[in-house]
Amino acid sequence: MRVMVGVKRVVDYAVKVRVAADKKAVDLANVKMSMNPFCEIAVEEAVRLKEAKKATEVIAVSVGPKASAETLRTALAMGADRGIHIMTDIRTDQELGSLSVAKILAKVASEESPDAIILGKQSIDGDFGCTGSMLASLMDVPQCTFAAKIDFDASTVERETDTGTEIVKFPGLPAVFTADLRLNEPRYATLPNIMKAKKKKIDTKSIEDLGVELSEGNEVLEVFEPPPREAGILVDDVDGLVDKLKNEASVI
């Protein structure tokens, strides 16, 4: 089995982002960037498959600017065999939409013919959570999203739901899986692997090279911070609370 993994370079989860002066984007200048946490989980799952001898090759793919090569190197240091970098300067956290990314990945998949594609369930910048499903749809293959456990032998996936988990069976490979938090705990890159990663290959292409026509992107109207949290109000009794929740906050 050959596995393709999607990795995305996003703002580091610990960073407190700020809105850019023109209110059209989040200010990314000199901000710490890292691999999307769910992508890390996806890479980890793929590498574990290789270690269990269930997979023979792990290919990491990233769509993003020049610096996304660093993200690919991290995937390589975790154990991926080679990388494919689709270079673009379109903002991957806003203008480049999920459908476009799915189209790009579908084209790469058509060239690489992986048996399994594992993506993170969503990226922590855009938080759209659509790419995996769209990719499966474009490729006309099964999708198992929010995976907490994948069993390739039994062809089942335990997936997260709003009320717990459910087990689904997928008809076979190829298929797309998206990784949820509980799928695994990603490893730390070891020093020997970081050094070995240097010798692993990364192929760089542009979107034009791939021959993909992008869907209409998103147009950002405005980016603003959420209103500051206000102080709470003390209510006199339960009736007062219910009244506020119903008539003021409109949540019940």
Partner: protein, 650 residues
């Protein structure tokens, strides 16, 4: 403290509401700072290219960043949370061959070994990654900041590895180095005894020849042995409980004093022919100390009872052999000081930005002024800022001082390797590098540990009452770093070493060559100064080096009449040297920052912060040299005239 209900409601910081903190700061590995310092200030990439033997080519900028980020992630997530646990739980003596370490230490050590980190700077021949030693120092810096006591385990092991690598016979190296470099075996340095620490001439541990001189029987007691034992090998993990001790001992009939001490390798478990562990070797821990801090590191009293040992190096040359590592171990100690300043500063900045108290005297002109909040965050207040900037100046100045030394250490190792193969020029270059390090390390160790202690104090102060409370993770730093100014040679010893041995005994040669080099840099900088501040600072540094040489001559004259003048002046002298050296480094950082600002591409805030801190250092900290210049020349009689009996308390 008065609190009205409306004020209470407006306070949004959980810190203020809860009384004692529920949240606390989180350590972040300052990779950006480290890369700025190593690359933009000290040109490490070019330096790596110049190395012949060490794998400089593997240490490309991307690789360095990945290594630092990789280690950073490990330290932030695994090591830092254990820092508080280590302090609270400490270590427990279970039996002479088991010390229980704080919860989580063993698991973290397993991960560290799995990561292959211990072998970063060691030869591939023994399983290492052959990267330069300077990169190992940078990686150790992150570990040391996140969790000083945990980092002592791999740190002390490295001391033992270095000793065996340089002085062990091949058959010893082949057996002991691979598992130590992999991290499966740890190591210690056993020098101090109950009756002697600063004065190792009094070492009494005996080594009696056995087996026609092939092995020795070692007996004696060593104290203050950090990481003397542990429980890392208790369950199936990466360590198997083996500890390798490098022990100073005397053979019967050896000359008196330091000229009769030899160095031995004494394993906790004897090693079988096939490399597996055999029986215990009569090496035991009698007890562990109950200390002011560093609770995560077991400070052991080791007992050797006819333990089998192997000679390292040449008989009676033990002290000289130990001294080959004195420089690296002093550098490690300097790192303890600067990293304490770094951690304390991170905690203090976090608090100062959040904690509200009073209003800025100048009102809304102040950066950080928060008119909508109940009060301003304390970072607006000059006193708090001075404390923060002092910590910052030490942490960042210290880093630069250490990285410069790390480059020299690389050159030393590189040339030593070439010299061992017969390259005469390389041998000479190695000697020069050794001299340079020998001159700098007492300054770095003495100055950075003392200032590290100060910086940690300031961190507690910035937190106010909350700094005194253990939960807020500030006072621990203060207690942990305190030993830094004592071990590896007290500040007093560092002072004597610098002034007495390194400068006077060598007839001022290392001082003069250092000052010439610094003035040369200053001259270039003055001629090409991007700002008037840089020019003024360069002039200041040049003048200080002249003053340094002048003061040395003055003390020399005083010493002609009374040799006690050297001891009396030495600590003030050391601190003067430290401030001057730190100023030289802030100058270098300011120059690099101005260059970055002129290029216009990098992080403007980042570079401006460097320029600002440099200005603070030169104006608010460096003037201490004036006091030191005066006090170091204070008449020796002031210190020496009082009789011993006059020191009696009533």
């Amino acid at each position: 403290m008065l609190r009205s209900t409306s004020l209470f409601r407006k306070l949004t910081s959980p810190l203020s509401r809860a009384g004692t903190s529920v949240r606390s700061y989180q350590y972040k590995a300052p990779v950006k700072e480290m890369i700025f310092c190593s690359e933009e200030v000290h040109g490490f990439q070019e330096h790596y290219k110049s190395l012949k033997n060490l794998s400089g080519e593997d240490a490309s900028p991307e690789m360095v960043k990945e290594i630092l980020e990789g280690m950073g992630k490990f330290c932030e997530t695994e090591l830092f949370p254990l820092n508080e646990v280590a302090d609270r739980e400490g270590c427990t003596w279970v039996n002479p061959t088991t010390i229980k370490t704080p919860a989580g230490f063993k698991e973290a050590y397993d991960q560290y070994v799995e990561g292959g980190w211990q072998g970063l700077a060691y030869p591939e021949k023994y399983g290492g990654s052959n990267l330069p030693m300077s990169l190992a120092l940078m990686k150790s810096e992150i570990m040391a900041t996140a969790n000083w006591t945990w980092s002592m385990f791999p740190g002390l092991s490295k001391g033992a590895i270095n000793t065996i690598m340089l002085h062990g016979e091949d058959y010893l190296k082949d057996v002991y180095l691979p598992p130590m470099i992999a991290g499966n075996w740890t190591g210690t340095m056993c020098l101090t005894e109950p009756q002697c620490g600063s004065d190792l001439a009094q070492v009494a541990t005996m080594a009696i020849t056995e087996d026609e001189g092939k092995t020795y029987s070692i007996s004696g007691t060593k104290i203050f042995i950090s990481a003397g034992d542990h429980d890392f090998g208790d369950s199936a993990g990466s360590a198997d409980g083996q500890v390798i001790h490098c022990v100073l001992a005397r053979t019967p009939g050896a000359p008196e004093g330091t000229k009769g001490i030899s160095l031995f390798l004494v394993p906790k478990y004897l090693v079988n022919e096939d490399g597996s562990l055999g029986e215990l070797n009569n090496v035991g821990v009698d007890r562990i100390e109950d200390k002011m801090g560093c609770h995560g590191s077991p400070t052991c009293q080791m007992n050797f009872e006819n333990s089998k040992g192997w000679l390292l190096g040449t008989k009676n040359q033990g002290m000289n052999h130990m001294f080959t590592f004195i420089n690296t171990s002093r550098l490690g100690c300097a790192i303890q000081g600067s990293t304490a300043a770094e951690l304390s500063h991170q905690g203090a900045v976090w608090y100062a930005k959040d904690r509200l108290a009073m209003r800025a005297l100048s009102g809304k002109k102040n950066p950080g002024h928060e008119p909508d909040m109940a009060a301003d965050p304390i970072i607006v207040h000059p006193d708090v800022r001075k404390n923060l900037l002092t910590q910052k100046a030490i942490a960042e100045g210290g880093r630069s001082m250490i990285y410069e030394c790390a480059k020299v250490a690389d050159r030393l190792a590189d040339n030593e390797m070439a010299g061992a193969e017969g390259d005469e020029a390389a041998k000479k270059a190695a000697e020069e590098a050794d001299d340079e390090m020998g001159f700098l390390t007492p300054i770095l160790k003495g100055f950075l540990t003392e200032k590290g202690v100060d910086a940690a104090h300031l961190g507690v102060q910035i937190y106010g009452g909350h700094g005194y409370i253990k939960q807020n993770k500030m006072e621990q730093i203060s207690r942990d770093v305190r030993i830094g100014a004592i071990w590896e040679g007290t500040t007093g010893i560092q002072g004597l070493d610098l002034l007495g041995r390194k400068i006077f005994l060598q007839k001022l040669k290392p001082l003069n060559s250092h000052c010439s080099k610094v003035r040369s840099f200053c001259w270039d900088t003055i001629m090409n100064a991007p700002t008037s501040a840089v020019r003024n600072h360069a002039i200041k540094v040049a003048l200080l080096t002249l003053e340094w040489q002048y003061l040395t001559a003055r003390i020399g004259l005083m010493a002609k009449d009374d040799r006690e003048a050297i001891g009396s002046a030495s600590v003030d002298y050391l601190m003067f040297a430290g401030y001057t050296h730190c100023a030289y480094h802030w100058l270098q950082m300011e120059v690099a920052a101005e260059k970055g600002l002129a290029a216009g591409t990098g992080d403007k805030d980042f570079y401006e912060a460097k320029v600002q801190t440099s200005s603070f250092f030169f104006d608010s900290m460096l003037p201490q040299t004036k006091t030191l210049a005066k006090t170091m020349l204070s008449p020796t009689d002031n210190v020496m005239k009082m009789k011993v009996s006059q020191f009696d308390v009533a």
